[in-house]
């Protein structure tokens, strides 16, 4: 269901190609679901098999983060077109305890739960755009995107 491009602003001509897919993350099995749906979406958007794997891995890391730190949250997946490139957008939201020190959490090896803490920096390495907004006590939103040029 695409919106006509005449509704978009003049300069960007961005239009959403598919509806947003919302996946609740409340249990183990949801991590698997999220990454499989992410892979399928990337495939539909024409990403190479290698990139599909990369996107799925990034989603897996972020989804697990939600479970580990916030216990519950959701992941929204969508595909957008921007000029001659297409992208997958992943937004992970939770109302958990939040990350007190975002820059520190983005460093390798940092973890408050005794794990290896590879979630955030690892996912960032995999994706093209990466943004974390977090308020202690209010929750965290991670937005990450991967782009590709349109090939037939």
């Amino acid at each position: 269901m695409s919106r006509p491009s005449s509704e978009s602003t003049v300069d960007r001509d961005v239009s959403t190609v598919a509806d947003e897919l919302l996946i609740p993350i409340t249990a183990d099995v949801d991590v698997v679901t999220a990454r499989q749906r992410g892979r399928d979406l990337a495939a539909e958007a024409g990403f190479s098999s290698g990139d599909q794997t990369v996107i799925a891995a990034a989603i897996s890391e972020i989804a697990r983060n939600i479970l580990m730190y916030a216990k519950r949250g959701e992941i929204a997946l969508s595909v957008v077109a921007n000029g001659d490139r297409q992208g997958v957008i992943v937004v992970a939201r939770d109302q958990g305890p939040g990350i007190r020190d975002v820059p520190r959490a983005m460093q390798d090896g940092y973890s408050t739960s005794g794990g290896l803490g590879l979630g955030l920096p690892g996912a960032r390495r995999l994706m093209d755009d990466f943004d974390v907004v977090s308020d202690a006590g209010k929750g965290t939103t991670v937005t990450m995107k991967k782009w590709r040029r349109m090939n037939a």
Binding site: S2, P4, S5, S6, E7, T9, V10, D11, G50, G83, D84, R149, M150, N151, A152
Partner: protein, 302 residues
């Protein structure tokens, strides 16, 4: 055609917010263009030939394409949406680019159509200057947007085709060679950009799997310099190959590249390197010749 120095991409008025008169004007305009379809289309085709555009195509072909362009043009004016036109422009471009049609020709013919239609509006409304103005007010932004859409669609399609061709060339120019059973050689020559590096790695990993390679010799004698990104990529390639059970020997490491690797934190004692390709192949054969391979010598310490 009265141009008022407006931005070519001035937004089309949201149909729902349009005043009654503008909507009615567009309807009238579209009706006129449909009614006079045949002669306007012919006039346009004549102008195309006179301007010596689309010389790569025959007259019949020009006429056939002119018909669909005309209809798509009028439809875009009518609906105020441009997706169908965009898709059509891409499709058309895909067909005519291999015929040798160039950008200036595509832009040219669309502008000619715009002119032909504007002239016919002059002809129809020349007695009512006020109405003519209002019709042109409705027509101009739409016509300019259409010209822009078609031109951009053509250019994007052209760029896509060029990229595809470049991709094909790259694939051909970086072969992974199987010289012995279970031994692959990947000679890298020239400048490596991140995209090519990525492609090389994907090709190599697939080849390891297909050929069940146990040893890979990556020869970088032909690589002059490597920035830290590409150097990092080389390290990743070595690590990924190991995950597939293959040992990598890097040959032809220049002192400069060795320095780059050290700078990004690579422990060179952990990477198997040999001076030149010949030496690398010999080492690989030695590794493959053993039935029992002392693993401590191959894999990094745990």
């Amino acid at each position: 055609m009265a141009t008022k120095g407006k931005d070519v991409q001035s937004p089309l008025p949201d149909p729902q917010a349009q005043t009654e008169s503008t909507a009615a004007l567009l309807r009238e305009l579209v009706a006129h263009l449909r009614q006079n379809r045949t002669q306007l289309r012919e006039e346009w085709a004549r102008r195309i030939t006179r301007a010596q555009l689309l010389t790569a195509m025959t007259e019949e072909e020009i006429f056939a394409e002119a018909t669909s362009v005309y209809d798509n043009y009028v439809e875009a004016l009518e609906t105020g949406t441009f997706e169908a036109l965009q898709a059509y422009a891409r499709n058309l471009s895909e067909r005519i680019i291999p015929r040798g049609v160039e950008t200036h020709e595509v832009v040219g013919i669309v502008l000619l159509l715009r002119d032909v239609l504007a002239r016919s509006l002059f002809g129809k409304y020349h007695e009512d200057f006020d109405k003519l103005n209002r019709i042109l007010d409705a027509y101009e932004p739409a016509a300019n947007r259409i010209a822009n859409t078609v031109a951009v669609g053509f250019v994007q399609e052209r760029e896509r085709i060029i990229r595809q061709q470049q991709e094909a060339i790259r694939e051909l120019s970086t072969p992974v060679l199987q010289v012995r059973e279970r031994l692959l050689i990947l000679p890298i020559i020239g400048v490596i950009d991140p995209q090519r590096a990525r492609q090389l790695t994907e090709q190599l990993l697939r080849a390891i799997r297909t050929n069940r390679a146990k040893v890979v010799v990556i020869d970088i004698t032909g690589v002059a310099a490597m920035d830290s990104n590409v150097a990092n990529h080389l390290v990743q390639t070595v690590e990924a190959s190991r995950l597939l059970g293959a040992t990598v020997i890097v040959t032809g490491l220049s002192p400069e590249i060795a320095q780059t690797l050290v700078t990004i934190g690579v422990d060179l004692s952990e990477m198997a390197t040999v001076g030149d390709l010949q030496g690398g192949i010999e080492e690989a054969e030695r590794l493959l010749g053993y039935k029992v391979v002392p693993l401590e010598e191959l894999t990094p310490k745990a």
